[in-house]
Amino acid sequence: MADATLAAAPLSNTREIARAIWAEKAKRARRAALLKHLFLIGCSLIMIYPLLWMVASSLKPNNQIFGDLSLWPSEFRWDNYTSGWNGMSVSFSTFFANSLFVTVLSVIGNVLSCSFAAYAFARLEFTGKNIWFALMMMTLMIPYHVVLIPQYLTFLNLGWVDTYLPLIVPQFLAGDAFFIFLMVQFFRQLPRELDEAAMIDGCSAFKIYWAIIMPLSIPAIATAAIFSFIWTWDDFLGPLVYLNDVKDYTVPLALRMFNSQDSVTQYGQMFAMSVLSILPIFVFFIIFQRLIIRGIAMSGLK
């Protein structure tokens, strides 16, 4: 855009010079872009290697996964996918349905309840705010393995063990402080004048949250939704402790059931199902990352 201003200069002589500068700049820009792409492709290779390796392993027979380092299977065992899908006492269709159910509800709960709390911490004044904030941060710091048993006892007393409630209800009660803190940081970046103007117009606090803060924070919300989806989808400790019936298991729990200490581990099938288990995350990621772009467009236009 700076080039455009230069090129529009009135004198033709200047225009010549400007064109030369512009050509030089364009060349440099192209070289920079090329370098950038080379850098990114190099990084991508490192990043994608594990996936290639997993896909390769998912197509190998069980007795070739170890000891054979090549990425290209000598024979393609597509049946790892079909027999893996139906390999358990319960089909993976059930596990995927269960995982989707828990994950989608968790994402909704997380985004709603955490943005509520974040709005309170970032934009509102109330007594005891700093203490509550400190306590919220504390819930992030305690190693979760030691609260596992007391938490289990709590849910046992509520009669919630062997249901999805322990996995979903806390998400609607802003159980993960990570998201609160994340949104607090983004909400605090919005200019104060927005609220003040709206307040003068007679907007309620809820209206400000819903009509001003949330729309302007779409990149942050999308980021939170992506994390929330991935972490809930990947979580196995919660389902491990609270679900008893195999028919209720989620995908990560089922994946870990392939692994056997004292008998046949079907690694090929396990990798096949691991590859499939990444797909929903990937799809969700691709869809929601678009919202991160939309966020820029808006602040860019301002």
């Binding site: 700076a2 872009a33 990114l40 990084c43 991508s44 990043m47 594990p50 996936l51 390796w53 997993m54 380092l69 309840s113 955490c114 509520f116 709390a117 309170a120 509102l124 004044e125 109330f126 007594t127 705010k129 509550w132 941060m137 504390m138 710091m141 305690i142 979760y144 393995h145 030691v146 609260v147 007391p150 709590t154 209800v169 806390p170 609607f172 009660l173 609160i180 994340l182 940081q185 983004f186 909400f187 605090r188 970046q189 200019p191 104060r192 990149p219 991935i230 994946l255 870990r256 396990m270 691991s274 990444i278 990937f282 691709i286 990352q289 966020g295 820029i296 602040s299 860019g300 301002k302």
Partner: protein, 297 residues
């Protein structure tokens, strides 16, 4: 009194879901673990009060506790800055208009999706074995690589590499933060003919500070609590020679392998206090380098 309610009602209304969850579900187990840290509790039988014994043992007798602390501190000190720098660098490259940005982002996020799964454990062994991929690459440039997994001097580095490699989440947050910086500021800088370095320190860093701060605090907390990588790669034990004995790996073994839940709770509270102290320092320094848009003017 009426005024007091009116001043607080909106804040507490929005805080309500969190408050309910915190008071009913979160604080109880946390306090329970504090209580258990003063007991001997093998999970099977009821806890027995032993006062400060767990803490006394920890600080006077327990060599592995000290080892776990030093491993964890080393890991935090190296992996957090490395990961953050890498994440920020990649985010800035991706932030500039570039083709197929969505694809790159997704690819860069891949390692983080794999997380601490069994697949990663197997993969890491195949990569870092003496005759694995890494050493093969090193050999092409004439370097004879070490036994990464066997040598206590190197094994922690494989975990650092794993942590940095999984830089997806801070990168994404940096990206969202960069997207919130008004583009016109950069255009103004370009008109002023400010170089990239000056632009970075004059515009990017100050405006990104809240997000940098967030990533710093959260990555630090996560690194102190880091568990699954070390756990799966060392077979759950912290081997070789405790060089991968991350604090939480030690804690998990005390709690679930040796059924010393009381002692594990004491370990947890010491870690909590350490993390809290570092976080408090971070918050205190943030006054000097993190400024929020909402506080300006």
């Amino acid at each position: 009194m009426h005024k007091f309610i009116r001043r607080n009602i909106a804040g507490y209304a929005f805080l309500l879901p969190w408050l309910v969850g915190f008071l009913l579900l979160a604080i109880g187990p946390i306090l329970a673990s504090l209580y258990l840290s003063f007991t001997k509790y093998n999970v099977i039988n009821p806890p027995r009060w032993i006062g400060l014994d767990n803490y006394v043992f920890m600080f006077t007798m327990d060599d592995r506790f000290r080892k776990a602390l030093s491993v964890t501190f080393t890991f935090v000190a190296i992996s957090v800055p490395a990961k953050l720098c890498f994440a920020l660098a990649v985010a800035m490259v991706l932030d500039k208009g570039i083709r197929a940005i969505g694809l790159y982002r997704a690819l860069f996020y891949l390692p983080s999706i794999l997380g601490g799964s069994i697949a990663v454990a197997i993969l890491w062994r195949q990569l870092f074995n003496y005759d694995g991929v890494i050493n093969a690459l090193l050999r092409t440039v004439g370097i004879e690589g070490p036994y990464w997994l066997a040598d206590p001097n190197y094994s922690l580095w494989t975990l650092v590499v794993l942590a940095v490699w999984q830089f997806g989440s801070p990168m994404l947050i940096f990206l969202a933060g960069l997207r919130a910086i008004p583009q016109d500021l950069y255009e103004a800088a370009e008109i002023d003919a400010a170089g990239p370095v000056r632009t970075f320190f004059a515009i990017t860093v100050p405006l990104l500070a809240p997000v940098i701060f967030f990533n710093l605090v959260l990555q630090m907390i996560e690194a102190f609590k880091s568990f699954s990588g070390a756990f799966i790669i060392s077979g759950g034990t912290g081997a070789p020679l405790d060089s991968l004995l991350f604090y939480t790996v030690y804690l998990f073994n005390e709690a679930f392998s040796f059924l010393r839940m009381g002692y594990a709770s004491a370990l947890a509270w010491v870690l909590l206090i350490i993390i809290a102290a570092f976080t408090a320092i971070a918050f205190w320094t943030s006054k000097y380098w993190v400024h929020y848009e909402s506080q300006r003017g």
